[in-house]
């Protein structure tokens, strides 16, 4: 798409002549100006109407788990794909790079928003059906929230942060609070759970507590300033901030208020024998990871680097992030970027001078309810298991991610 711009010198010559004809011929840079670009991107209608990123930026989503099924597969099905966190800056994941989880490999439903309806029924005084237009008339909220897949568990075989942590993403979501809709319908006495259902093949349905529904859940039609994208649930999806990814029902079409846990298929996926594992596979714990420098990247030499990463928790806002540049022997307070929002990715930074010696970088975070991100050995000790660094923690793994900086500057996953 690059083209030589042919008219530049001609234009300058003409301009110089108009300016008084002091110099005829070549125009030399006067005050040490930067060299002019040699190539230019020719404007094309589509690109002007709807922007494109630079051809030099090539960051893409990859199958999760690493080496897993390609999306789309031969049948056009979409499976899990992970976000390229190694290239992320700030806190928002671009919609086009937001991770995608699908219940069992899905064709994306193509929904005409003018045909789409959301029904609220069950233990309510007034069952209601909303069009998308109806929903957009109602008071709205815009909030940053992460969504993290229950399968976002780092393994020693993973090489990059996209492989270890790429099944989390954070977007700015806009929509109506579910509590607004439930209040409009009037929740009856005796109601205790809510079932949400989507439109995709599996018609995914999850039960979640009424207390959560009335607290901070969003029926979202907007994502990062535009309509929610098809892979993320167009035209309507549910946000259940801080709960495992599968609860955040895409293509939302029905909300049923009920008086018990409904044991839908998605709920069956959360079925556990013991209450500890059940609880730890439900609300997401405090978690952070350094995205720069991270696995697969390379430091060009000793000297200054800003260590940067993301922290989040299903328990609320991140209140503290610490970074260790000496393999966990000492910890320094990292700077938290701006306002730490509840159940949202929070960017942290730490100034660091690398002395060229092999070391390990780690981060750990604390959230507003006082939960702290652990080492695997701390969790093992809590449950009276052998303090083995390769201990697999119960539930979604939120343990500290170590990156080893080799003396040649290459960065490697140091997870046992």
């Amino acid at each position: 798409m690059g083209v030589k711009r042919p008219d530049r010198r001609e234009f300058l010559r003409g301009g110089a002549a108009l300016a008084g004809g002091l110099t005829v011929g070549a125009v030399e840079p006067a005050h040490g100006q930067a060299p002019e670009p040699e190539r230019f991107i020719r404007g094309e209608a589509d690109m002007i109407a709807y922007g494109e990123r630079s051809p030099f930026v090539t960051s893409v989503r990859i199958p999760h788990p690493p080496g897993g099924r390609e999306s789309p597969d031969a049948f056009g099905l979409v499976f899990h794909v992970a976000a390229p966190l190694q290239d992320s800056v700030g806190t928002i994941t671009p919609s086009s790079l937001h991770f995608v989880g699908t219940t069992r490999g899905s064709l994306m439903p193509e929904i005409d928003p003018s045909e789409h309806r959301l029904m609220i029924h069950g233990l309510v005084d007034r069952p209601l059906v909303f069009t998308m237009e109806d929903l957009k008339r109602l008071p709205s909220v815009t909030r940053l929230h992460f969504i993290e897949c229950a399968g976002n568990n780092a393994r020693a075989t993973h090489k990059t942060v996209q492989e270890t942590h790429g099944m989390t993403s954070c977007a700015e979501w806009t929509g109506v609070l579910l509590s607004t809709l439930l209040e409009e319908a009037g929740v009856k006495d005796g109601a205790s759970w809510v079932v949400a259902e989507g439109t995709e093949n599996v018609k995914g349905a999850s039960s979640f507590p009424l207390a959560k529904a009335m607290d901070d859940c969003i029926v979202a039609y907007g994502m990062n300033g535009e309509a929610v994208r098809p892979q993320n649930g167009f035209p309507l999806r549910l946000l259940i901030p801080g709960f495992e990814g599968i609860f955040n029902t895409k293509y939302l079409r029905r909300i049923k208020v009920v008086d018990r846990y409904y044991m839908n298929y998605n709920d069956y996926g959360h079925l556990r024998r013991d209450s500890v594992r059940a609880a730890l596979g439900y609300q997401i714990g405090p978690k952070s990871v350094i995205t720069f420098p991270s696995g697969g990247q390379k430091l060009s030499g000793r000297g200054f680097y800003e260590v940067s990463g993301l922290a989040w928790s299903g328990g609320g806002a991140i209140t503290r992030v610490e970074v260790s540049t000496d393999a966990g022997r000492s910890w320094q307070e990292a700077e938290i970027q701006g306002t730490a929002h509840r159940m949202a990715h929070t960017r942290f930074r730490l100034a660091w001078n690398w002395d060229g010696q092999e070391t390990q970088l780690m981060s750990r975070c604390t959230d507003e309810v006082g939960q702290m991100q652990p080492l695997p050995t701390q969790v093992a000790e809590h449950f009276n298991a052998a303090p083995d660094p390769s201990y697999r923690v119960p539930g979604l793994d939120n343990t500290i991610q170590p990156w080893r900086i080799a003396s040649d500057g290459s960065v490697h996953n140091a997870r046992a």
Binding site: P127, F130, P139, A205, A211, R272, Q283, Q371
Partner: protein
């Protein structure tokens, strides 16, 4: 650094208060915005495919394991295997029969088998009805779903071969894992993941 708590919505309450102040007859429990329409009972029944443990939402119809076996061969065996053993690549359909025969096999030691491990037989019906067969969802009749449910429960030694499964009998099926699962924590705003767990 600031920690921002999402403000709780106040608009609804204050609007109601305003309406009351204006002398309207709005009840505090009434709708605030009057947006959205009321669905008919038939519409709700047609949309409502959530079948809970009590089975209240189950439609009329019935089926037996023998009928289910025939339907299974035609509609399910291609992916789940002739003997319910599960599928191979590229269609990794789950195994549907427990790994050990007998009535007293621990549901947690016999594979992750929905028609054996699920605490409620209604979950089996609900899932077949909403999600099966893959990419042909919604093409089974209620009788066929009852029959397939009966077949899977029979093949997992949960029910007798001749039991007729319908809206009345299905919720009464006692699953082996009825009380063998952990309930989720009682969630409240500000809850940690697990009380007493610092991480």
């Amino acid at each position: 650094m600031h920690v921002l708590s999402n403000p709780r919505p106040r608009a609804a309450g204050s609007l109601v208060a305003l309406l009351v102040l204006l002398g309207g007859s709005a009840l505090a429990q009434g709708p605030t915005y009057g947006v959205g329409r009321t669905p008919t009972p038939e519409e709700i029944r047609a949309w409502d495919i959530s079948v809970g443990p009590t089975g209240d939402e189950l439609p009329p119809g019935s089926g037996t394991a023998a009928e289910g076996a025939r339907i299974y061969r035609i509609r399910c065996a291609g992916c789940h295997g002739r003997n319910l053993e599960g599928g191979r690549e590229p269609r990794r359909a789950p195994r549907l029969v427990k790994t050990e025969p007998g009535r007293d096999v621990d549901p947690w030691d016999a594979g992750r088998i929905l028609p054996y491990r699920s605490p409620y037989a209604t979950t089996v019906w609900d899932y077949i009805n909403r999600g099966m067969p893959l990419y042909q969802e919604g093409t089974l009749t209620a009788d066929q779903v009852y029959a397939l449910t009966a077949f899977l429960l029979f093949r997992n030694d949960v029910i007798a071969e001749d039991l007729v499964i319908d809206a009345e009998s299905l919720p009464q099926v006692e699953m082996p894992n009825r009380d063998g699962w952990a309930p989720l924590p009682d969630w409240k705003p500000g809850s940690p993941r697990l009380p007493g767990y610092p991480f």
